[in-house]
């Protein structure tokens, strides 16, 4: 069956190549060499293609956070400007963990060891790492102080400190407190286990999710009617597709066990749609219907009662209000109620926020995220401060795919600032590119690619990698997700090249 799917995809690829007058064989030849070179991690062709600039810029660059965004930025800066002094402040030794693999760990397809990577294996040459946490920010004097009292000064600062998973904001999970995706999260897992819930947003949590899922499937197989709930909070989140991906994988595993008929699978997002891009929203609704998934929009998880296995949601909606003279229309009033739902399996996507010490500092904002001009990633107030990745206040960001576009823009702009004191209009702007390889089954992925210009119906394809319908679930994208994205990220991106 997989081969048949592949054949169909390849036939489609052939017809596209044919339109451009290239045979598949020629395309393979053309691409084969560069890909092999790239996969070896040395390829000159790959390097040439990514246009690393050669800059004579001098000065001190401080990077806050050594996760995927921070380390890739450090590497690309180092590749581009040998005279720049680069320091990264990162307390977590596992900060370069491969987070996109956590869904696969949660679905029992990868062991946890597949996503664990050590920060120290990805430190570029001649880059200083301070293993402390930056806690005080004084952008008026260009200094940062760490939790151990180390004061670091900079000419330019790049903030890539990530986001915090705020499990403790849910009533009943107070003991879980806050967590980062990487590192030791055994305590968090204990708290989630104690209420019969799970969450793939940490590596430890992903491993525990698979255990929890297996129990759920065993119950369904034994003939018990079971209820599985999947939540999506009211804050921006990293990887907006993950709350659904784990639901699709639960469904696939239930089917595999021949136990799907005994399980109810229900999705509870806070928002009023499946996806912010219309084409993908429509495709997902159809996928949900085909799998007999249930869903309830505008439900935000606010409490978990572990003893009775009941999840409480804030259900909110709008009703027609009074005539609004200014608007010359009827206004709306907001209504809400509490909805209690019993569960046997509860996958929680927690509320997320910027780390408090940054949110409350001068570089933060009322919402916490570091405010930047979204096209240049330059701070809204401080011209020598940039931000990228999960912590940046950017619409639709917060994926590894967005970071892959953002870090090149940041490096380019920081170097321009160092060289000339301004960002020329010719520098490439960030256009909101995001990619969400939505796992829809074991063996299929919908490669949802989009950017800020993808909002209108029929425009979802404008950001797509290949000119084939991006709303289709495909076996080739499953192979991309399973085999290629990790080496691309861990060896291409973290080396600053791809």
């Amino acid at each position: 069956m997989e081969n048949r799917n592949l054949k169909k995809d390849l036939e489609q690829l052939d017809s596209i190549l044919k339109e451009q007058g290239i045979s598949r064989r020629d395309a393979m030849k053309m691409m084969g060499l560069s890909s092999a070179a790239f996969m070896m991690g040395s390829g000159t062709e790959a390097e040439a293609a990514t246009e690393v600039r050669a800059s004579s810029a001098k000065g001190k660059v401080l990077i806050i956070g050594g996760g995927l965004s921070g380390m890739s930025t450090a590497a690309r800066l180092r590749n581009s400007a040998s005279d720049v002094e680069i320091t990264v402040i990162e307390p977590n030794g596992l900060s370069t963990q491969y987070q996109p693999g956590q869904t696969l760990v949660g679905g029992g397809l990868w062991p946890k060891s597949e996503v664990i990577y050590h920060r120290d294996d990805f430190i570029p040459n001649n880059v200083t790492v301070i293993e402390e946490k930056a806690v005080e920010f004084d952008p008026d004097n260009n200094t940062v102080t760490t939790d151990k009292g180390t004061k670091v000064s900079y000419d330019y600062m790049i903030v890539a400190a990530g986001l915090v998973l705020n499990y403790g904001a849910i009533k009943g999970l107070e003991a879980a407190g806050e967590a980062y995706s990487a590192g030791d999260n055994k305590k968090l897992v204990d708290v989630l286990n104690s209420v019969g819930a799970c969450s793939i947003y940490t590596a430890d949590g992903a491993e525990a999710t698979w255990e929890s899922m297996q129990k759920f499937i065993a119950d369904a197989k034994s003939g018990k009617k079971v209820n599985g709930l999947f939540t999506h909070p009211n804050t921006p989140i990293k990887c907006g597709g993950a709350p659904k991906k784990i639901m699709y994988l639960t469904n696939a595993r239930l089917n595999e066990a021949g136990a799907r008929a005994n399980a109810n699978l229900h999705f509870y997002p806070n928002g009023g749609a499946m996806f912010g891009i219309k084409d993908y929203h429509t495709a997902i609704v159809e996928q949900f219907k085909a799998r007999d998934f249930k869903w309830s929009y505008k439900h935000n998880l606010i409490a978990v009662d572990g003893e009775n296995k009941i999840a409480t949601f804030n259900h909110h909606w709008k009703e027609k209000g009074e005539w609004d003279e200014d608007l010359e229309e009827y206004g709306v009033v907001l209504k809400s109620e509490e909805v209690k739902v019993p569960y046997d399996f509860l996958h929680i996507t927690p509320p997320m926020k910027a780390p408090t010490e940054i949110a409350n500092s001068k570089i933060g904002s009322s919402k916490g995220w570091v405010p930047v001009k979204k096209e240049t990633l330059q701070h809204a107030k401080y011209k020598n401060v940039f931000a990228l990745g999960d912590i940046a206040a950017i619409p639709m960001g917060k994926t590894g795919g967005s970071a892959r576009k953002q870090y090149k823009v940041v490096v380019d702009n920081v170097l321009s600032m160092m060289e000339t004191g301004s960002i020329p209009a010719t520098n490439k702007e960030y256009a909101g590119y995001t990619v969400c390889p939505l796992i829809t089954n074991i063996g299929t992925v919908m490669l949802a690619e989009f950017n800020w210009a993808s909002k209108k119906t029929g425009s979802g394809a404008n950001a797509a990698l290949l000119p084939i319908d991006p709303t289709q679930e495909r076996y080739i994208w499953w192979l991309l997700k399973i085999y290629l994205l990790k080496p691309m990220t861990q060896y291409g991106m973290l080396s600053g090249r791809a």
Binding site: L13, M28, S35, K374, A380, P395, C436, M488
Partner: protein, 130 residues
Amino acid sequence: MIKKITTLTLATAAIFALTGCGDKTAPKEVTTYKYTTVQVYEKTCIKCHGANGEGNPEKKTPALNDRTPAEMAEDLYDVKNGGTGYGGSGTDHEIMEHNMQKLIDKGYDYDINSMAEFLSYLAKNNKKNK
């Protein structure tokens, strides 16, 4: 054989992604608006947010002149699109999301960055007047 072809196909896809063949720079949205940014503000927003974007406590409308253009652009994006995320988080501005949609339906659409810059101009102007 199939396996070999698969690997090569994937390598092709990956290389498109890496080298930028597939990395189309998103075309800037070229939209012709019915009214200019200033006209939109003066015909609609001003009624509730005031001549200088100062807000109106009686109407429970917030000030719009207390943010940098970058921050304002983020908020306008949220209100126009029902949130800043893509997966289903929703918006913090449900009432204004409704109102904005009604205004857009009536032809009062605008460019986010242009409006953010204009509000910043109003804020500066306001300080000068004081």
